[in-house]
């Protein structure tokens, strides 16, 4: 190896290491800030336990709805060339670029009592603002694009010829999808769903506008921080961080390919 290429490699590694440290540093600091006792203590607080339970429930519901509506869409986007495909693809990615409080305000205007949609749904007994459905709506809004794009890529990675082979072997279009494409894309779709779920868990900006109470975990942490100060917020923050790390590990295990 020449000196030049050695210097080049060291420089690349150093730049990358800086960024990695910047991400890992604060997280480690947070993890070791509180004592294990303080975590246990925090978990005794029924309000925290309720907020975690609420977060898991709402995020799971939002993910389920996103999967139900988003997986067929992802399949269409991956496989069919229909008029307006690019437009639909762009629209579905909009929530990723919109600031979350903006999304919250838009949802509030759309689903609030004074809007036609919100009013009509309210008549049916479905209240969004300051109610649990509001949390789910906000989570769905911000996480659906992640699920759709994950599932779309998963479907795209499956050779479309395989479905044709299945068709010549007697499968209907649905059977071919169910027996070939879905099993092959399944891990990718699941990974996308988990990513969407963790996006829902971490959502704050739009939920805070739509439904402050009952509190999901992120709002609970914010509330503790503004009411009681930094130290009171740490244990709950650590717990949420641990949940996120677990999710990351699960996704890594699910995602095939990159391992060598």
């Amino acid at each position: 190896m020449t000196v030049r290429s050695l210097v080049y490699r060291v420089a690349l590694a150093a730049l990358g290491a800086l960024l990695v440290l910047f991400i890992v540093g604060p997280l480690l600091r947070l993890l070791f800030f509180g004592s294990p006792e303080s975590l246990v203590e925090a978990l005794r607080d029924p309000e925290l336990r309720d907020s975690i339970a609420l977060t898991v429930f709402t995020a799971s519901t939002a993910t389920l709805i996103a999967a139900l509506l988003g997986v067929p869409l992802a399949y269409l986007l991956a496989r069919r060339n229909f008029p307006g495909r690019r437009l639909v693809q762009g629209l579905i990615e909009l929530p990723v670029v919109i600031p979350h409080p903006v999304a919250g305000i838009a949802l509030l205007l759309f689903l609030g009592r004074r809007s036609e949609v919100g009013g009509a749904l309210g008549q049916l007994g479905l209240e969004f603002v300051s109610h649990v459905p509001g949390i789910i709506a906000a989570m769905l809004f911000v996480s659906a694009p992640i699920l759709v794009s994950g599932a779309r890529e998963a479907f795209r990675s499956v050779d479309p010829q395989l479905e044709r082979v299945a068709r010549t072997l007697g499968d209907s279009a649905w059977d071919a999808f169910r027996r070939v494409t879905l099993p092959l894309a399944g891990r990718g779709v699941l990974a996308g769903s988990i990513l969407a779920w963790s996006r829902s868990v971490s959502e704050f900006g739009s939920i805070v506008i739509l439904t402050y109470n009952p509190k999901v975990a992120s709002i609970y942490i914010f509330d503790r921080f503004t009411t009681f100060g930094l130290e009171a917020a740490v244990p709950a923050a650590v717990i949420l961080l641990l949940v996120a790390l677990t999710v990351l590990v699960v996704i890594r295990v699910l995602q095939p390919g990159e391992r060598q």
């Binding site: 050779d159 010829q161 395989l162 044709r164 082979v165 299945a166 068709r167 010549t168 072997l169 007697g170 499968d171 209907s172 279009a173 027996r179 070939v180 099993p183 092959l184």
Partner: protein, 354 residues
């Protein structure tokens, strides 16, 4: 039986047009043509994967033009095999078999039968990843044959295997075809394959059938310079024909063919621009002039010898390149080698004008 009537398929900017073809029940037909001539598109259209713009498809006298692929009852082996990567070899072969109601034959028995026929029993429990090209080929074939289709479509089935395996597979496929009595349509770019396998061959060029017939017919009597070149009939020379016999009746007449520096006596049916096709087997070489029945005698020179076992191709220079095919024995007896001057002779009737 497969019958295609005036098929027209468009894929992107490519058109497959006026495709009319009939493969008799139990027949083995080959579609040959260069890359991009529309071979695969044609198979996809027959299988029901490609939308037809016009034309009709019949299978065993039933029109299937508007049936989805799964109701056409055919097997399709793709060039890249496309085995299902999430299933074992056994599951791949059994994919198209449905559990019978009542006392039908069990799917497991059919899988075992095919595995035996194709000598792949030891592979049955393996995943498809890691199978060799030849093994994948056999599995793909077994999978397509399992539901006992009455029609089998094969897309360049031997393209991805080594030549030795190809020979074995070709023989096995022909045997299978005879045993199962399946009407087979295979796509290839290799005319040699057509000669060995097919009862019927159709040459596809730029989305149209340029010629169809028995392989022997197409090889011996190509109807165009394209077909002659593609199937390797032999020497194809562009030129013009003029009448030298002053007869006025219809039918063939004696004529002179001029192609560059080459002037030949031919029997023609029309005048004007034309291609002369001369098969290498019809050329006689000698070291000295002698009066034979052959009308054309040209002086030439041996450029090089290409030995193909019992046959040797002699590359000649007669003012333009020409290839003659001789037995290796006679090449040795004549002592032919590159640089030697020879007399090149052939009959006027050996020249096919297309």
């Amino acid at each position: 039986m497969i019958r295609l009537e005036n098929l027209h398929v468009r894929v992107g900017n490519f058109d497959l047009r006026d495709i009319t073809l009939e493969v008799p029940k139990g027949g083995y037909a080959l579609i040959i043509g260069p890359t991009g001539s529309g071979k695969t598109t044609l198979l996809e259209a027959i299988a029901g994967h490609a939308q037809l713009r016009a034309g009709r498809v019949f299978m065993h006298d039933d029109e299937v033009t508007h049936l989805p692929p799964e109701q056409r009852g055919l097997g399709f082996v793709y060039q890249q095999y496309h085995l299902f990567p999430h299933l074992s070899v056994r599951e791949n072969i059994g994919y198209g078999l449905r559990q019978p109601r009542g006392n039908g034959p069990r799917p497991a028995d059919r899988v075992a039968e095919l595995a035996g026929m194709l000598a792949i029993e030891p592979l049955l429990e393996r995943r498809v990843r890691g199978l060799s090209g030849g093994e994948q080929q056999r599995v793909a074939l077994a999978r397509a044959l399992a539901p006992k289709p009455s029609i089998l479509l094969l897309d360049e089935p031997f393209a991805a295997v080594d030549p030795a395996t190809r020979q074995v597979l070709r023989r096995e496929l022909r045997e299978l075809h005879e045993r199962e009595g399946i009407t087979t349509l295979q796509v290839t770019h290799d005319f040699d394959e057509a000669l060995r396998l097919g009862d019927l061959v159709a040459v596809l060029a730029e989305g149209r059938i340029a010629q169809s017939g028995t392989p022997e017919q197409v090889f011996r009597y190509p109807n165009s310079a394209f077909v002659a070149r593609f199937v390797g009939t032999g020497n194809v020379i562009a030129g013009t024909v003029e009448r030298i016999e002053t007869g006025d009746g219809p039918g063939p007449f004696r004529a002179r063919f001029t192609g560059g520096s080459l002037v030949l006596d031919v029997v023609a049916e029309r005048e004007g621009a034309i291609h002369a096709v001369l098969r290498p087997e019809d050329i006689v070489l000698s070291l000295t002039h002698h009066s034979g029945s052959a009308r054309n005698h040209i002086e030439g020179r041996v450029v090089r010898l290409e030995r193909l076992g019992p046959v040797t191709l002699v590359h000649l220079d007669v003012g333009r390149p020409l290839i003659a095919s001789l037995t290796t024995q006679s090449v040795e007896e004549m002592g032919l080698k590159s640089g030697i001057a020879v007399i090149v002779a052939f009959k006027a009737t050996a020249i096919l004008l297309v």
